[in-house]
Symmetry: C2
Amino acid sequence: MSTDGVPGSAPRIDGLQSSRWDRELFEEWRAGKIDCVHVTCAIWEDARATLSNLGPWHRRLRENADLVVLATSGANVPTAAASGKTAVILGFQNSSPIEDDLDLVEVFHRLGVRIMQLTYNIQGLVGGSCYEPSDSGLSRFGRQVVAEMNRVGMLVDLSHVGEQTSVDAIEHSARPVAITHANPSSCLEHPRNKSDRVLQALAEHGGVLGCTVYPPLIGGADTSLDAWTEIVARSVDLLGVEHVGIGTDASRKWDEDDLRWVRMGRWTHTVDYGASSTRQTSWPVWPHWFETPAPFAELGAGLARRGFNENEVAAIMGENWLRLFTDGFTPLAGW
Amino acid sequence: MSTDGVPGSAPRIDGLQSSRWDRELFEEWRAGKIDCVHVTCAIWEDARATLSNLGPWHRRLRENADLVVLATSGANVPTAAASGKTAVILGFQNSSPIEDDLDLVEVFHRLGVRIMQLTYNIQGLVGGSCYEPSDSGLSRFGRQVVAEMNRVGMLVDLSHVGEQTSVDAIEHSARPVAITHANPSSCLEHPRNKSDRVLQALAEHGGVLGCTVYPPLIGGADTSLDAWTEIVARSVDLLGVEHVGIGTDASRKWDEDDLRWVRMGRWTHTVDYGASSTRQTSWPVWPHWFETPAPFAELGAGLARRGFNENEVAAIMGENWLRLFTDGFTPLAGW
């Protein structure tokens, strides 16, 4: 095991980050030797606006080709790592980019998108959000979308999705799904955290939970790294060590306009800050041990201190994600 | 040489068709042993609407995978031919799909689009159309678009483009360009046919003209196949045999609503039928020798009767297109 608690050959994969991207952030990834990051390319955007997010992403990848490389298959991750680069997985935190057009699943897959969350913070065409008072479950269109995602090799993400829609999607999906950034609600009650029922269904169907560092979901900025490792430990107890990863939700360089867009989009004119509620208007303060993603390996060191063995740390730090990505991004036979 | 006048190993490539597509049309291609067709996927559509044309195209290719296969490189054409399928090149007859967003050139390239005409029948953001009374030439945005197309490997098409914009684009492009479907205006004066000046510039810069069978550009449905071969012969005299191909502009199964859309889009409420003028409101009648694309090889037989030798027929029937596509679809180094 390396001195930072992470076995040298194990991949370091962050299951979700969402920032105002620039080269400095990619340099932070390299400083942390992060091998792979799933990045958010759309939150509320429709199809047209998403194109104008993906275009600059492809340009950004090209202009920073010494640091980052697009990953469209699991096999791209070790290749990127071997060349000292971070593999970038493009993803959506909403199904808004496909609007009501089933063909757009394949269109966005062809544009490199490999993960799509079914809903963000409000009800959508495919199902209910974790913040809705009543969750209809996976809609008729939602069933089509999940099946189409299964076909092309686009991973279903349920992080912000409502309880019933999550359970429905897990059962309806022919392939394992992801919760890229959330924690067990048995650690902290929060609409964004996940019930034992959802987490156990996720694991039973081969999925992976990315334990998050997002302050409102861990108990605030004063939560210690050791306390965070207890959240991971509880997750391992619930799901099994093969079904737990990390999705920090690191969010960097956002200004006030970005925050308003991320939280309220166009759907409300009143204050609704989602996970941060109405009480906290500014972006949450992050724990001193994770103010940037650069100390990502410290999460592994913390897990080792908590008593996880070398293989378990490697599984949580990236091997579980890599297994899920490798399988989940492979199109079904015949396509 | 085979009995139909086309050497057995020479590719048969149609530089443009634009139809209401279905399996029957793909069966016509196979009946004609057509190895490759450039198909129109957008005429007036903006970015969003184009996604809903490309999505069904990818579905259509999948559902008819026994007959057709997507071509994204020149090398795909002989592979398709060897497996008894027609290689399909996706193209736009307008730059409307990229709107004012330079990044969308790469976005649509990633969606498989390999040919884009700079303007259709009206002036656009990149330059003037052949029907405009005054042609500004290639605009500032147009220069960016041509350079970006050069970079990603998307072929510039000038068939409906204005005279000055065409000359500017030929000179500004670092790579050879195409006129996929037009004839020399020295054969028939028509705004859509091309001046000697444009054609000679095209050839000097390595481009290819696709001689068309579209009735208004050849003198009407009564024009004989032998008379059409004289148009090809005149083109060869002007450009050289290495710079002439065929782009039939075969247009099948369109209904009256399709015709109105193709001709008038949303830009006029008065009658303006482009190449067919205001006099002919229905779709032009095609010559009896080309009512469908199935007898494509007969065009080669006609060229052989006209006196072209085996190598010349092969060049015109497809080898020139294949050379241009192979080079033109290859991204510049470093991408």
